[in-house]
């Protein structure tokens, strides 16, 4: 109620039917380049580095192959027939094709039926959570029983640019289904969007551009806090109600600072904060943080996830973990299994793996 005593309508996106996450799965490629190795090439002095290291895809990997593996993990946890999916959606800013959907390849590879929605999503780093919110709508409206949403990236960073230290590869897949089958019930979501050009990549360009310090306060912080505060307010929850919170993580500092601004404590965000170890996986960033949280969550835990995509917008959504989580956690490889699989590479190998050497 506001000061005048009138009821303020809730801005939460609530579905007609109760829904939840019934399966999830992560993927991180095995190669890691330490930030110090990038600094060795581009900066003489050891400045403060935004992450320890970042994950780099192999030569035979891309958003499609990584999505396939994350989706297979999600299906293993969900225990459903892939033929029952009604949507296979991939959110990314590094789709292998400029024109031709990633989702069709993923759908065929995981054995989905032909009765699906399968467009690609693009909204910088929130393409994956945007797909997830759409999946909530599809399932929550009763249009379909199950929908698969994936956030996955092999992010590009211009050689020598600040983003090169963090632009990483990885992500996670989520299957949305009826709440009664869920390992975590989705309590609601809220999205906050403005036109704020802090980061972009023009058509046909290899690398993105960013607006330096403008990416902070008016972009990342304003959108995440706006989305999170509205979500908390309209869902009637407080930071202390959540066992875990996951915020988009372009570097290690931003999510920690935004957590503090919103009243979350370091231990609430610790589990979901993977950026120091794998880098910023862009469309996968907040979602892989969430998958790591789900790997260890217990029944009754509440989880708040807030993504951020440049351009700009944030999706906030709350989960309530159910008793089903315990037996499903072990049904597929965990996020940490992929993080632990690690082959360190130097800058020369990195240049090759990222196809910065032209062969013709």
């Amino acid at each position: 109620m506001d000061a005048a005593g009138t009821e303020k309508p809730s801005l939460l996106l609530k579905t007609l039917k109760p829904i939840g996450i019934i399966g999830y799965g992560a993927y991180v490629p095995r190669y890691r380049i330490p930030a110090a190795e990038i600094a060795r090439i581009w900066k003489g002095a050891e400045g403060s580095l935004p992450v320890k290291e970042k994950a780099v895809p192999g030569l035979d990997e891309d958003v499609i192959t990584m999505s396939v593996e994350a989706a297979r993990n999600a299906l293993a946890r969900a225990g459903i027939d892939p033929q029952e999916l009604r949507a296979v959606w991939v959110g990314s800013e590094s789709h292998p094709y400029a024109v031709k959907p990633s989702g069709t390849v993923v759908a065929e590879a995981i054995g989905a039926s032909t009765n699906i929605q399968s467009g690609d999503w693009e909204f910088a780093c929130k393409a994956g959570s945007e797909a997830l919110v759409a999946a909530m709508g599809l399932v929550g409206s009763g249009m379909g029983r199950y929908a698969l949403a994936i956030g996955m990236d092999t992010a590009q960073g211009k050689p020598g640019d600040a983003l090169e230290f963090t632009a990483a590869a990885g992500g996670a897949a989520f299957i949305v289904g009826p709440a009664e089958e869920a390992l975590a019930v989705i309590e609601g979501s809220y999205s906050f969007v403005t036109d704020t050009p802090d980061f972009w990549r023009r058509e046909g360009k290899k690398y993105p551009e960013h607006s330096q310090r403008f990416t902070g306060e008016p972009a990342y912080f304003h959108h995440i806090t706006s989305a999170a505060q509205t979500y908390l307010e309209d869902s009637g929850t407080k930071p202390e109600d959540y066992t875990f919170a996951v915020f988009h993580q372009p570097n290690a500092k931003f999510p920690q600072r935004v957590a503090g601004m919103l009243g979350f404590k370091p231990e609430q965000i610790k589990t979901g904060l993977l950026v120091p170890e794998i880098g910023n996986t862009y469309a996968g960033s907040s979602l892989i943080g969430l998958s790591n949280v789900l790997d260890v969550a217990k029944p009754g835990d509440r989880i708040l996830t807030v993504s951020y995509g440049s351009g700009s917008g944030s999706d906030a959504f709350g989960l309530l973990v159910t008793g089903a989580i315990t037996e499903r956690q072990g049904k597929a490889l965990k996020t940490r299994d992929y993080i632990a699989r690690r082959t360190e590479i130097d800058y020369a190998q990195y240049v090759r793996l990222r196809r910065k050497i032209t062969m013709e």
Partner: protein, 132 residues
């Protein structure tokens, strides 16, 4: 460009979909027109588990045209858990040397581009050392 050929073979390549013989129950990969065991007509799709072990392997240092970008790469004959063998590349090999008998699992990866980097990307099965 050889789009129809890649398109036609996508099921088996993306997901290791073979066949089970409706007459003698033999698991068949890749799909065939006639069962090699009982000579009956084979056409019932069967999803292989993707688990197997290395029967033999070699390293390609001098790649044929179309595979230069990934050189050197390891190719193997993999014996699938269900019985048949399949020829495929190994990927995500760590420091551990490849050994005959090593357990491997199927992953879907980029095999190559059809033509140059303007062509379609062809995806297919590879095998990696079993994780966990």
């Amino acid at each position: 460009m050889e789009i129809p050929r890649h398109w036609r073979l996508k099921k088996q390549r993306y997901a290791l979909v073979g066949e089970v013989c409706p007459h003698c129950e033999a698991k068949i990969f890749p799909p065939r027109d006639v069962c090699p065991h009982c000579s009956g007509e084979a056409k019932t799709p069967y999803q292989f588990s993707g688990q197997g072990e290395v029967y033999s392997y070699t390293v390609m240092n001098d790649a044929p045209a179309g595979f230069e970008e990934n050189t050197p790469y390891t190719v193997a004959v993999v014996k699938l858990a269900e019985g048949p063998m399949v020829t495929a590349q190994l990927t995500d090999l760590g420091a551990e040397p490849v050994k005959i008998g090593m357990p491997v699992e199927m992953v879907t990866r980029r095999i190559r581009s059809d033509g140059n980097d303007r062509g379609m990307i062809v995806y297919g099965y590879k095998f990696r050392p079993v994780m966990q």
